[in-house]
């Protein structure tokens, strides 16, 4: 690769990180709860984007391209992870019955609660919901995941209902108690995440 094309590539890459870097971190967070492994996943996503970027010919939007790679890396991470890790601690976090008033007072508590609740969703629901929360249209979500808009609409509707249930149950019980159970009872996106 010549110096000028490498510079152009680096500039493009930097723009992607500037515009989507925080979203990529959130995608990583939707697949991995443990901070060190989440950071590893984020770096894997960044690496995959860097390696795929020279072959990107603009067939889809940059946003679609970036989210496809991020979710695909997330799936690889999930499939290679030891079954003993990850899911259980996420479920434990969501289903922790102990109220914690000090934590309740923290500024990021609502965000953390939302993220824990999203992480508790089953994978199909979690994927569409996280993409919707990033502001992607149903058409774009379909392009990222390779499913029709109808499928996206159905999954999103169920995911929202499940999430509403989880968050509602959390508020009702003074914490996140029962959220895992709520998720488990829902028809779609219902199982507490990553039961495989």
């Amino acid at each position: 690769m010549s110096g000028s094309s490498l510079d152009a590539l680096e500039e493009r890459y930097d723009r992607i990180l500037r515009e989507h870097g925080s979203a990529l971190r959130r995608v990583a967070a939707s697949y991995e709860r443990e901070p060190a492994r989440r950071e590893d996943l984020f770096q894997e996503i960044c690496l995959a984007i860097w390696r795929a970027l020279p072959h990107f010919r603009g067939e889809a939007s940059v946003r679609t391209f970036v989210f496809r790679i991020a979710h695909n890396r997330g799936l690889t991470h999930r499939s290679r992870r030891s079954p003993a890790f990850g899911d259980l601690d996420a479920a434990a976090q969501v289903a922790d019955p102990r109220p914690d008033p000090e934590r309740e007072a923290l500024a990021g508590q609502r965000r953390d609660r939302l993220r824990a609740a999203v992480l508790a969703l089953a994978l199909p629901a979690r994927q569409v919901l996280t993409l919707a929360l990033e502001g992607l249209s149903q058409k774009e979500i379909g392009e990222v995941l390779g499913v029709s808009e109808n499928v996206v609409a159905v999954r999103l509707s169920r995911a929202r209902a499940t999430l509403r249930g989880i968050l509602g149950a959390g508020r009702g019980e003074g914490g996140m108690a029962g959220e895992g159970r709520e998720a488990a009872g829902s028809p779609a996106g219902g199982r507490t995440h990553d039961e495989d």
Binding site: R18, R51, P124
Partner: protein
């Protein structure tokens, strides 16, 4: 999806996106990291070719020094096997490159295919080990019979070379089994994911 009219989703989006974009310094660090990792991955990808070239160079040197016909035969057969293994490995990976920007569905399909190919590569590796053993054992046997006075490091040559072969092939077999188990687990997880996403 009319986000602007959807207060619930809007509220969740605000909470969800409550983390800052990486600063210029952090982006530069990420770029340095991915460039370094990219170079490492390129070296690893080229590793198979490099190992084959080194092996062929070593076998070529042996061939120039070889006097006994069985040694010449084993060196030539080893060279053919090394080139064959490289060709087989390259052929086995066809169609599985750069899937990361595909749709999730296509990506999962290629990932499962990659796992199948990896398991096939393990089977090839077992086959190559059998062929190597079939070449090396008679060659060693003939060599020992030809030079009965040679005692490697003072040991009985049958025990010495037998133990050496057992250790090398045993370690390779254990490595293959460990790798195959890991790939099977990954394939199961990918198939479960695909089933989850399709249902």
């Amino acid at each position: 999806m009319k986000t602007e009219n959807d207060r619930e989703l809007r509220g969740w989006m605000d909470e969800w996106r409550d983390n800052p974009a990486p600063a210029a310094e952090a982006r530069a660090a990420i770029l340095r990291h991915v460039r370094r990792r990219s170079r490492t991955l390129a070296l690893v990808s080229a590793g198979e070719l490099v190992v084959t070239v080194l092996l062929l160079a070593m076998l070529g040197t042996l061939l120039l020094r070889a006097r006994e016909p069985e040694t010449i035969a084993v060196v030539v057969a080893g060279s053919v096997l090394a080139v064959g293994a490289l060709v087989l490995s390259t052929w086995n990976r066809r169609g599985t490159w750069r899937p990361s920007a595909e749709t999730t569905e296509a990506f999962l399909e290629i990932s499962v295919l990659r796992c199948r190919r990896s398991l096939r590569a393990v089977r090839y590796a077992y086959g190559i080990m059998v062929v190597e053993a079939l070449m090396l054992v008679p060659w060693l046997f003939i060599g020992i019979r030809r030079h009965p006075d040679r005692r490697p490091f003072g040991h009985d040559p049958y025990i010495y070379y037998g133990a050496l072969l057992a250790i090398v092939f045993g370690a390779a077999t254990l490595g293959c089994r460990w790798y195959a188990r890991r790939v099977r687990r990954e394939r199961r997880a990918l198939q479960d994911t695909r089933r989850d996403l399709v249902s």
